[in-house]
């Protein structure tokens, strides 16, 4: 399967000492919905920004649809949509103005009618100013723009952070429905594992600029088990201790002893705590 997004030995340093990304190797197949999880400062936003060409890699390569966005922004941007953390729109412009703005630059590739209809379905009038939109409505405007652009890749940088549970749920429902319809690749950066679980079929856990774990969610869950500390035996491949005292372990073919299937949250917490990549 062709990769929609790749990082090959990707590193990004700010200033002389602060490394945001350290030698990342990631390959995201087309059509996946990827959850990008990590603590603050893990490098999630930086990674998304390198894929849209906002950040220049210090070393290594970031590839979006096979192109280097930093060098080839003109060919990459028309195929990519990016929704920034707390989407910031022009306060004095209306919903319609924003859609006109996108249509002005994206031309016929932008389906303004579809975007307008989506906002209308949400009960947001075309003449509503961006400054009057709630967090959820602003996020939905971002999604409407992203899907109106018929982008092949959609990068969502913590768009859910400031939303209430209902707005988050509505956002994810729209995201899932549209991704299913369009077949686009999406990366959703979030702190909220339950949102990732509902929206994504693939997971990347980042910590301190390095990949802790990456793969299809179902496969990652199948490859791990959670066992009580008292039942650990020599040879168990322990990832880390979970907050409740149990241990997250990797399954091995020759070690198929019983244990409970980890929840996605266990997997994420386990690898964030471990701070090391699986072997």
């Amino acid at each position: 399967m062709t990769s929609a997004l790749e990082a090959i030995g990707l590193s990004k340093r700010y200033g002389r000492r602060t490394w945001a990304l350290r030698g990342l190797d990631i390959s995201i197949p087309q059509g996946c919905v990827v959850g990008l999880v990590g603590p603050n400062g893990a490098g999630k936003s930086t990674l998304l920004k390198t894929w849209i060409g906002f950040e220049k890699p210090t070393s290594g390569r970031a590839l979006t649809l096979g192109l280097e966005p930093w060098r080839d922004r003109r060919n990459v941007l028309p195929r990519v949509a990016y929704l920034a953390q707390s989407p910031v729109f022009y306060r004095d412009l209306t919903v319609r103005d924003h859609l006109d703005y996108v249509a002005h630059y994206r031309g016929s590739a932008f389906d303004k009618g579809q975007a307008l209809q989506r906002m209308s379905e949400l009960g947001v009038t075309q003449e509503a100013k961006a400054s009057t939109l709630s967090g959820g409505q602003a996020a939905q405007l971002g999604l409407a723009i992203a899907f109106g652009m018929q982008a092949e890749v959609i990068l969502l940088d913590e768009p859910l952070a400031a939303l209430d549970p209902l707005a988050r749920r509505a956002f994810i429902d729209v995201l899932r429905a549209e991704i299913t319809k369009s077949g686009a690749t999406a990366v959703l950066s979030s702190h909220i594992v339950s949102d990732i679980e509902r929206a994504c079929n693939r997971l990347i856990v980042l910590s301190s600029g390095t990949v802790q774990i990456e793969g299809a969610v179902s496969q990652l869950i199948a490859e791990h088990t959670v066992v009580p500390a008292s039942t650990l035996i020599e040879g168990d491949d322990v990832v880390s201790e979970l907050p409740d005292g149990r241990r997250l372990c990797r399954r091995r073919l020759r070690n198929q002893r019983p244990g409970s299937e980890p929840a996605l949250e266990d997997l994420v917490l386990g690898y964030l705590a471990a701070g090391k990549s699986p072997q």
Partner: protein
């Protein structure tokens, strides 16, 4: 047209305020000028002093001269600097394929609005200066120099280029406005000085009719090689052998202070030179941002 409409919606408030301010200042200035005149026997320098230091005329004419510069600073900083500060650049730059095209569209719209306001202010001030100074042919006179005409447009455009660069570099509106005003003022003064340089001044007699259109640029006691000298140096050149009344009269006659002027016919040359300096500074600012905008992190 869509791009222009949206640009207008984003920037209409400061433009509308400054246009209204210019119309108010212009109309009041003209009404005031109808009732008062600069004395026709005053030189250009004296009339300029009158224009600047006479309170009502100074408020209107100086405000009209400054408004295009203010618009240049406001639009220059809001084009990139405020987009970076507010975070809207992330939205805009993820939409546009070419940031240079985006910047060019913003700049052209800004240039047009500065041009319109500059012409409005320059036109109003030309009327006011002409009404206050009847009998002067303004294009060949330094009367009201720098207060009227196309130089106001050039100053506004230069302020735009400089402020654009400052906003793009600092990414903070308040700091950019403060630094922008300082640097634009410095650039305007520097251009004013350069504009007057390279021209040879002339000593004009007080009864020379050209003195009324000329610009005073210096004063002193003429020396033997055409430069000015001090009183003491002049007295030292007193011939030997004088005594009594002749000795007392000699320095009064030979060490008299005179003023040097740029004749009014040089006005266009001076203004063109000043405009060239301002245009160069503005273009440098714009060129720097054109080169910088592609690599700026939103």
């Amino acid at each position: 047209m869509t791009g222009l409409r949206i640009w207008w919606r984003l920037h209409r408030a400061p433009i509308a305020i400054l246009v209204v301010a210019s119309i108010v200042c212009g109309l009041f200035g003209i009404a005031y000028a109808e009732n008062i005149r600069c004395d026709a026997s005053l030189s250009a320098t004296d009339c300029s002093q009158f224009l600047i230091y006479n309170p009502p005329s100074s408020i209107f004419t100086l405000a009209l001269a400054v408004l295009p510069i203010l618009l240049g600073v406001v639009l220059g900083i809001s084009t990139v600097g405020s987009e970076l500060e507010s975070g809207t650049a992330a939205f805009a730059w993820s939409i546009v394929g070419s940031r240079r095209r985006w910047l060019a569209e913003q700049a052209v719209a800004s240039w047009v609005s500065i041009l319109v306001l500059g012409m409005l202010c320059g036109g109003f001030n030309a009327l006011i200066v002409a009404k206050l100074n009847p009998g002067h042919n303004l294009p060949t006179s330094f009367v009201g120099y720098g207060l009227w005409g196309p130089i106001l447009v050039v100053r506004g455009l230069s302020a735009y280029g400089i402020s654009l660069a400052i906003g793009a570099m600092l990414r903070r509106v308040t700091a950019s406005v403060a630094l922008g005003l300082v640097l634009v003022t410095a650039a305007t003064i520097a251009a004013l000085v350069v504009g007057r340089s390279f021209e040879t001044s002339q000593v004009l007699a007080s009864n020379d009719p050209g003195i009324y259109d000329a610009l005073g640029v210096g004063s002193g006691i003429p020396g033997p090689n055409g430069t000015f000298q001090t009183w003491d140096d002049c007295v030292l050149t007193e011939p030997l052998g004088l005594d009594g009344d002749a000795r007392n009269a000699w320095p009064l006659e030979h060490c008299r202070e005179v003023s040097s002027y740029l004749p009014g016919s040089k006005m266009v040359d001076v203004e063109l030179r000043e405009s060239a300096v301002l245009a160069l500074l503005g273009l440098l600012g714009f060129g720097a941002v054109l080169a910088l905008v592609g690599s700026r992190r939103p």
